[in-house]
C-alpha cells in the first residue's frame, strides 16, 4: 500500500466524493469528516514513512499514458511538497469538520473532496502534463464554491478568478509544450517528466523566454503584483471555507511551482530576473500592506495581507540559497496555517453578524474573550512574532535574500512594520474600545465546532514556531539538492556566483545527470539559435 | 470563326438571362430566364465537345429541375410581391466580383502554370459519350453509385417534406383560416 500511497492520496477523496452523491443528506457531514480524516491519517502516514535524509523523490509511481509523446502519470514527493500535501489534507479535514450551516451541504462536501484531489495532485505530480491537468482542475471546484455559495458579487468574482488564472496557465502550457519540444530536439525523445527536464541545460536566451512563460502562470496564481486583483474579489465573495482553502493551499501552488519548475529548470534566467522579481515582491509587500490598511472590510484586510505575505515568500525563493528557499517553503506552510486561521476567524464573526465591516464592531474583546484571544494569537503570528510559525519563515526568507541585496532586504523588511500597522489597527477597531452597537452586546463566544478548527491551528502555530526543526530538516535536504542542481546547471558567471556551491550535493547531481545528453542539448540549442 | 461567334453569342445570351433571373421581381420571369440560361449553357458544353454533359444539362436542368421549380412555385403565391430590403449594392457587387475572380484564379492557376497532365486523357477515336461512360463506370463507379443513392434519398426526402398536409393549400385559404391553423399548431406544440 505504501508503494501507491500517493495515488491513494490523490484518488481516494475523488472516489469518496463520487460515492458521496449516494449518501443520505443527514449523514453527509459525518461521511465527509470520516473521508477527510482517513485522508489526513494517510498523509500523516506518508510523513511517517518519509525518509528525511533522502534528497530525491520518494514513493514514485510511474504509469505511461501516451507513450509516443512521453506523457506519463508520474507522482512523487520530496521535502518540498510533503508538508503542503499534509497541510492540504489537514485543512480539508478541519474545514469540513467545522463547516457551519450551509445550504446544499452535500454539494459543498463533495466539491471539497474533489478540490482535495486536485490539490494533492498538483503537489505530487512530477509530469508536466499531469501537473497542468490538476492545476487547471483545481479551478473548477473553487469556481463552483465561490459561484454557488459566495456573496452578492459572486458571479463576477468567480469568473474573474477563473479566467484570470486560466489565462496565465495557458501561457504556462505553451512554455511546457516548448520545453518538451526542446527536450525532443535535444534527445530525440519526447518527455514531459520534470525529472527528465532537470537534466537539460538550456542556453540563456531560451531560459529567459521560457522563464517568462512559466512566470505568467505562476505569478497570477501567487498572486504577484500587479496580477493580484482577482484575489480580493475571490476572498471577499467566497464563503469562509473557500477563502480558507484558497489562502491556505491554492495560492501555494504558484510559489511551489516556482521552486519546482522555474528555479531548477532555468537557473540563469532566475538569476537574471532576480532583481525585477524582487522589486515586484517588495512592491507587493509594502503596497498591498498599505492597501490592506485602507480597507474597511476585515476579510479584505486578511486577503490583502495574504498578498503581502506571499511577497515575502517570493523574495525567499529568489534568494536562491538554501536559507532563503527553505524559509520560503516553511513560510508557505506558516502562511497557510495563519491566514487559513484568520479566514476561519473572520468567518466566525461573519456567521454571527453577517457583516464584515470593521466599523460594525468594536469592543468585542469583552464580549467574546476567547475569540479575541485566538484572534490575537493569530494576529501576532501574522505580524511575525518570534516563536510563532510565521517568524521562522519570514526570518529565513529575509535572511536568505540579504545575501543577494542589502537595500532590497531593508525595503522588504518593512513588511514587519507595515504588517503590524494594518493588523494592529484592524484588531483595535474590532476588539478594543467600548461596545457601541447593541447587536454586538450578546454575541456568543466561539462554539465547539469552531474550536475544532481553531484549536489545532493555534497549537500548530505555536508548536512549529518553537520547534520548526521537524519541518526544516526534510525541507532542507531537498532544497540543498535543488540549489546544488542549480549551481551545477548554471552557465553564466554571475549565476555561478549568486547561487552557492554545495559541493557535497553537486557530486551526486553530476553522477545522475548524463553528460552526453547535456552536450547534445547544448549543440542543438546552438543550432536552433 | 464559327466557334467564336457561337461563343460570344451564347455568352451574351447566358449573361443577360441570368442577369434577368437575379434582378427581376417576378418569380415567373426569373424562372423562365433561368431555364433559358440553362439551355444556353448546354450550348457551351456542345461547343467544348462535351456532348454527354450538354445532353445531361438539358435533361436535368431544363427538364427536371425547372419542372420541379415550376411545380414548387404552384405552392407559393407568386403573384404576391415580396418586399426585398436592399443593402449596400456596392458591397454586394464588390464582394461578388472579387470572389468570382479569386475562384477563377484558384481554379485556373495550375493550368496557367502548366503544371498538370491529363489523368484521364481523351481517347482518340471514341465519342464523348463512350469516353464518359468508360471513365464513369471504372474510376468513378463508387461515386456514381453514391450519387445515385443520394438522388434517391433526395427524392424521398422531397416527397416526405413536401407531402405533409398536402390537402392544405395556403394559397387558397383565407388569412383567418391560416391564423386559426397556426393557433392550433401552437397548441399542439405546447
Amino acid at each position: 500500500m505504501l508503494d501507491h500511497i500517493l495515488s491513494i492520496l490523490i484518488f481516494f477523496p475523488a472516489l469518496a466524493a463520487v460515492l458521496g452523491f449516494a449518501v443520505n443528506k443527514n449523514s453527509i457531514r459525518s461521511y465527509g469528516v470520516a473521508v477527510a480524516t482517513i485522508e489526513f491519517v494517510l498523509a500523516l502516514w506518508l510523513w511517517f514513512a518519509f525518509d528525511s535524509s533522502v534528497s530525491g523523490m520518494q514513493f514514485m509511481e510511474h504509469i505511461p499514458l501516451v507513450k509516443a509523446f512521453g506523457i506519463n502519470y508520474i507522482v512523487g514527493v520530496d521535502g518540498i511538497s510533503l508538508f503542503i500535501i499534509i497541510l492540504a489534507a489537514f485543512f480539508t479535514m478541519i474545514g469540513i469538520a467545522s463547516l457551519g450551516e450551509t445550504k446544499d451541504i452535500k454539494n459543498m462536501i463533495v466539491t471539497l473532496l474533489f478540490l482535495q484531489m486536485t490539490m494533492v495532485g498538483v503537489f505530487a505530480a512530477l509530469d508536466a502534463i499531469v501537473f497542468y491537468l490538476f492545476w487547471e482542475l483545481s479551478l473548477v471546484p473553487m469556481l463552483y464554491i465561490i459561484g454557488a455559495w459566495g456573496g452578492p458579487l459572486r458571479i463576477y468574482a468567480s469568473v474573474k478568478f477563473f479566467l484570470y488564472t486560466f489565462t496565465g496557465s495557458l501561457v504556462m502550457l505553451v512554455g511546457m509544450l516548448f520545453m518538451a519540444y526542446f527536450y525532443y530536439q535535444a534527445t530525440g525523445e519526447w518527455s514531459f517528466a520534470i525529472l527528465d527536464w532537470y537534466r537539460l541545460i538550456l542556453p540563456e536566451t531560451f531560459q529567459k523566454w521560457l522563464f517568462v512563460a512559466f512566470f505568467f502562470g505562476f505569478a497570477i496564481k501567487v498572486p504577484m503584483f500587479p496580477f493580484h486583483t482577482w484575489l480580493p474579489y475571490a476572498h471577499g465573495q467566497a464563503p469562509t471555507i473557500g477563502s480558507v482553502i484558497l489562502a491556505a493551499i491554492l495560492l501555494k501552488m504558484g510559489t511551489y511551482a516556482f521552486i519546482r519548475f522555474s528555479l531548477p529548470l532555468f537557473p540563469d534566467a532566475s538569476v537574471y530576473f532576480m532583481y525585477p522579481i524582487a522589486v515586484l515582491a517588495i512592491i507587493m509587500i509594502i503596497y498591498t500592506a498599505m492597501v490592506a490598511y485602507a480597507q474597511k472590510d476585515i476579510k479584505q484586510v486578511v486577503a490583502y495581507s495574504s498578498v503581502s505575505h506571499m511577497g515575502v515568500i517570493i523574495l525567499g525563493i529568489f534568494a536562491l540559497n538554501v536559507e532563503g528557499i527553505t524559509g520560503s517553503i516553511f513560510l508557505m506552510i506558516a502562511h497557510g496555517v495563519v491566514s487559513g486561521a484568520l479566514f476561519f476567524l473572520v468567518g466566525v464573526i461573519y456567521d454571527r453578524r453577517h457583516t464584515k465591516y470593521m466599523s460594525e464592531f468594536g469592543g468585542l474583546a469583552s464580549v467574546m474573550p476567547r475569540y479575541a484571544t485566538i484572534f490575537g494569537i493569530m494576529l501576532m503570528a501574522s505580524v511575525g512574532l518570534p516563536l510563532t510559525i510565521n517568524f521562522v519563515g519570514e526570518f529565513l526568507s529575509l535572511l536568505g535574500f540579504y545575501k543577494q541585496s542589502h537595500t532590497l532586504t531593508l525595503l522588504a523588511g518593512m513588511a514587519i512594520i507595515v504588517g503590524a500597522i494594518y493588523m494592529l489597527s484592524a484588531y483595535k477597531k474590532m476588539f478594543f474600545g467600548v461596545v457601541t452597537k447593541d447587536e454586538n452586546r450578546n454575541l456568543p463566544d466561539v462554539n465547539k465546532r469552531e474550536l475544532v478548527a481553531l484549536i489545532p491551528l493555534t497549537i500548530i502555530t505555536i508548536w512549529l514556531g518553537i520547534y520548526p526543526k521537524v519541518l526544516l530538516e526534510p525541507i532542507n535536504t531537498s532544497v540543498e539538492a535543488v540549489v546544488g542542481l542549480m549551481h551545477e546547471k548554471s552557465l553564466t558567471q554571475e549565476a555561478k556566483s549568486r547561487i552557492p556551491n554545495l559541493t557535497k550535493d553537486a557530486e551526486v547531481i553530476t553522477n545522475s545527470a548524463e553528460n552526453t545528453v547535456e552536450n547534445s542539448t547544448e549543440n542543438s540549442a546552438e543550432e536552433a539559435h | 470563326m464559327f466557334e467564336a461567334i457561337a461563343f460570344y453569342l451564347f455568352a451574351f445570351l447566358t449573361i443577360s438571362m441570368f442577369y434577368i433571373a437575379v434582378t427581376t421581381t417576378q418569380a415567373l420571369y426569373a424562372l423562365s430566364a433561368l431555364a433559358a440560361g440553362m439551355i444556353f449553357i448546354s450550348a457551351f458544353f456542345f461547343i467544348l465537345g462535351a456532348d454527354f454533359l450538354g445532353a445531361v444539362q438539358i435533361v436535368v436542368y431544363s427538364g427536371a429541375v425547372m419542372a420541379l421549380y415550376a411545380f414548387g412555385m404552384m405552392f407559393f403565391d407568386t403573384t404576391r410581391e415580396i418586399k426585398e430590403k436592399q443593402g449596400n449594392k456596392a458591397i454586394i457587387l464588390g464582394l461578388s466580383i472579387i470572389s468570382a475572380i479569386l475562384v477563377v484564379v484558384i481554379v485556373g492557376a495550375p493550368i496557367i502554370g502548366n503544371n498538370i497532365t491529363a489523368a484521364y486523357p481523351v481517347t482518340e477515336g471514341a465519342g464523348n459519350v463512350q469516353e464518359v461512360g468508360m471513365v464513369l463506370f471504372t474510376k468513378y463507379l463508387v461515386p456514381f453509385e453514391v450519387a445515385a443513392v443520394m438522388l434517391l434519398v433526395a427524392m424521398i426526402a422531397g416527397i416526405v417534406l413536401a407531402g405533409k398536409k398536402m390537402d392544405l393549400s395556403l394559397t387558397l385559404m383565407s388569412e383567418a383560416e391560416i391564423m386559426m391553423m397556426k393557433e392550433e399548431d401552437k397548441k399542439v406544440h405546447l
Binding site: - | V56, V60, Y69, G87, S96, V107, V135
Partner: protein, 101 residues
C-alpha cells in the same frame, strides 16, 4: 479570334459574380435557389472548359456530379421550402431569424 481557355474563364467569372449578387441581394428564398443554380452552372462551365483544353475527362466528371448534387439539393430544398411556407405563409429570408445570437 481563337477562343481560348481564358475566354471561358472570364465568362465563368461573370456568371459566378452574377450568381453571388443574386445570393446576397435577393430576399426571396426561391430566388436564392435560382442564384445557387447559377453559381453551380458557372463552375460547371469552367470545369468543362478546362477539361476540354487539357484533354482530361476529370473536369467533365466533376461537372456531372455537380449536376447530380444540384438536382438533389433542389429536391430537398424545395421540400423544406414548402414546409416553411406552410408554417409561416411566406418565404422571406428576413423572417428567418430564429438563429439570432
Amino acid at each position: 479570334m481563337e477562343i481560348g481557355l481564358n475566354h471561358y474563364l472570364v465568362l465563368t467569372t461573370i456568371l459566378f459574380a452574377i450568381g453571388l449578387v443574386g445570393v446576397m441581394r435577393r430576399k426571396n428564398l426561391l430566388m436564392l435557389f435560382f442564384a445557387t443554380e447559377i453559381l453551380l452552372n458557372a463552375v460547371n462551365i469552367s470545369f468543362a472548359a478546362i477539361s476540354h483544353y487539357y484533354g482530361d475527362l476529370t473536369g467533365q466528371m466533376f461537372a456531372f456530379f455537380v449536376i447530380a448534387i444540384a438536382a438533389s439539393e433542389v429536391a430537398v430544398g424545395l421540400g423544406l421550402l414548402i414546409v416553411w411556407h406552410k408554417k409561416h405563409n411566406n418565404i422571406d429570408l428576413d423572417n428567418m431569424s430564429t438563429m439570432r445570437g
